[in-house]
């Protein structure tokens, strides 16, 4: 059986403005952390929603050889964990109940003991124990983003789709999140695709990178090989360098925006 994620001729978008047109993505094996990058409005969120089945599409999304369109929405979202870009709402719901509701809505087959163990494990991994009994309305944006991520991780899906999971987080939490996702992926059963703007996070943590542009995949491969000055200019319209830090890691340094070669689609 062909394990992993594969996209075939995928098209999605709005009735009068297609965002993705005939996008193909070669099979990505389980145990891989993929960065999905590209300029604003290029379709990163649309692609993640399309894979999750939250947006109508043409074409095929294959997970472990199964066309996800053949599954019921609930069954599909049991295999696919999607973290939306929007943060969880600031309500009176306490964090532990937000987790319970996520599990009860999507994993009703789990026993109470299973659910409690899964929540405890994810809270411990992400360092969120102190927030468990606090209402979401009393948490900062970054803390709510962490709870949102915990709601996805706790369901232990086969495929993780995270839409800008670090957008509201400080440096330490950005690293904590990427380390947690990295650890879950490293166990081998999970495959994760994260949409990010920070190319250096992608370079540091991801096994593969997919660069979107003009409704299709501009480039895909190992981050250090794909992210070249020429690609960055073509994708983002910037003059940039890729250099090595003192530890030998590659770093993207953007110097100048080159207008008007890059514009909103």
């Amino acid at each position: 059986m062909s394990e992993g994620l594969e996209l075939r001729r995928l098209s999605a978008g709005y009735p009068r403005r297609p965002v993705l047109e005939g996008l193909d993505l070669e099979r990505i094996a389980p145990g891989t952390l993929v960065a999905l990058v590209g300029p604003n409005a290029v379709g990163k969120s649309t692609l993640l929603k399309a894979i999750a089945g939250l947006r109508p599409v043409r074409g095929q999304v294959l997970l472990d050889g199964t066309d996800l369109a053949t599954l019921t929405p609930r069954e599909r979202l049991r295999r696919v964990g999607y973290l939306p870009q929007a943060l969880p709402q600031a309500t009176s719901l306490v964090a532990y109940e937000a987790m319970l509701s996520a599990l009860r809505a999507s994993r009703a087959d789990w026993s109470t003991a299973q659910a409690e163990a899964a929540i405890a494990r994810v809270f411990a991994t992400l360092g969120l124990d102190a927030l468990a009994l606090r209402p979401l309305g009393e948490l900062s944006g970054g803390q709510r983003q962490m709870i949102g991520l915990a709601q996805v991780l706790v369901r232990a899906p086969r495929l993780l789709l995270l839409d800008e999971p670090t957008s509201a987080l400080d440096l330490r939490w950005q690293l904590q999140v990427l380390q947690a996702v990295r650890a879950q992926v490293a166990e081998g059963r999970t495959l994760a695709v994260i949409a990010v703007h920070d190319l250096n996070l992608a370079l540091r943590f991801c096994d593969r990178i997919v660069v979107l542009g003009q409704g299709r995949v501009l480039a895909a491969g190992h981050p250090a090989e794909v992210l070249t000055p020429a690609l960055l200019q073509a994708a983002y319209g910037v003059r940039a360098r890729v250099e090595r830090c003192s530890l030998g890691h590659p770093l993207v340094l953007a110097d100048e925006a080159i207008s008007p070669t890059h514009d909103f689609p």
Binding site: A52, P73, A86, P88, Q89, V94, S101, A102, E116
Partner: protein, 345 residues
């Protein structure tokens, strides 16, 4: 070391205790409501009459069993219905200002009632003229169906549903004014009295119907407690768990409409209970709908039971329309809640 699950179980137990405390207070207000009224009926006689009706003189038995008890039980049931309806509506529309008024349901019920009054319709069943409540229910249900139809056709987003509701509210208010304009003085008086809300129309048959609808809707909403709780974390989050948000919203609004339309059709317009009850429940119990929904029903019942007592005691010898009391008490209560939350923020 205490596990996370054990810490949460203690936290949840506190909520169960709070719910139990609310139920005890409700029993106390019910007893007080039964003991209050223009005719003097000592509390001991009330208790004795409830336990052994035959032991009371006929006049006192009639006062207790045909006036005070139906009045008090109806207050409790209508308050619970409006509290539950308001709570579900606030969740479904993600709007703390939502209540059965938001979608024009109360206005629609008032138009229905006024049509029956002005038209002089009669429909005798169970020894009562049910034309007014039936017409009120039909109009409120029609308003609901219209919103459902429009929402289904144009997408059941929160904004769409609220906008349709507000449009309907103004349309039904205009229709109500039209009905008042063409009504004769007798009918006009009846319409105005209906829109003030009154428990004096309570009978055991009507109570049975309101209780049956409340029970049905309470069981139905209990089944949806988890998806509704998940919705409080965010619409996009709920969708990502596989919850069909639009469908959940439409079904919830249908249930809310059934609850509110049934309650309002028998007692007239009663404001603020559906708005304030859920806020009290939210403050005390949070928004896990396993606790929040019964809490909102209990808070609504407490409010209306308390208002029923006030309606009989504010002016000695006179029973004021309860809708006036709920608005007069509800407004300062709502303001106090809002201000206390601001201070706490």
């Amino acid at each position: 070391m205490t596990t996370l699950a054990a810490r949460y179980r203690r936290f949840a137990a506190l909520r169960l205790w709070l719910l139990a405390a609310m139920a005890v207070v409700l029993c106390a207000t019910l007893a007080l409501d039964l003991a209050t009224g223009p005719s003097g009926l000592p509390f001991a006689d009330v208790v004795a009459g409830l336990l052994r009706p035959a032991g009371l003189p006929v006049e006192q038995r009639v006062i207790l069993w045909e006036v005070r008890l139906p009045y008090a039980v109806m207050a409790l049931l209508v308050g619970a219905s409006l509290g539950l309806a308001g709570a579900e509506m606030q969740t479904a529309l993600n709007n703390p200002l939502a209540s059965p008024f938001t979608l024009g349901l109360s206005a629609a019920a008032a138009v229905g009632a006024s049509i029956a009054v002005v038209g002089g319709f009669t429909l005798m069943a169970f020894g009562e003229n049910l034309a007014v409540p039936l017409s009120a229910f039909v109009c409120a249900a029609a308003a609901t169906l219209l919103i459902q139809l429009l929402a289904w056709r144009y997408g059941a987003t929160v904004d769409t549903v609220v906008l349709f509701g507000i449009a309907l509210l103004f349309s039904f208010e205009a229709l109500l004014w039209l009905m008042q304009f063409i009504a004769d003085s007798n009918a006009l008086q009846q319409i105005v009295f209906w829109t003030m809300g009154s428990l004096a129309r309570a009978t055991w048959n009507k109570i049975g119907l309101v209780a049956a609808v409340l029970l049905l809707c309470a069981l139905w909403s209990a089944k949806n407690a988890w998806p509704l709780t998940a919705l409080r974390a965010g619409e996009d989050q709920a969708r990502s768990f596989g919850i069909a948000v639009e469908r959940l919203r439409l079904v919830t609004l249908l249930r809310v409409s059934l609850l509110a339309a049934t309650a309002l059709s028998f007692v007239g317009t009663i404001g603020f209970v559906g708005l304030v009850g859920p806020h009290i429940a939210r403050l005390l119990l949070g928004e896990d709908h396993r606790y929040y929904l019964p809490g909102a029903a209990l808070a609504g019942a407490l409010m209306l039971s308390g208002a029923s007592i006030l309606s009989k005691t504010l002016v000695p010898g006179v029973v004021l329309p309860i809708g006036i009391i709920t608005a007069l008490v509800g407004v300062p209560m709502f303001m106090a809640l809002v201000l206390s939350r601001r201070r706490g923020a």
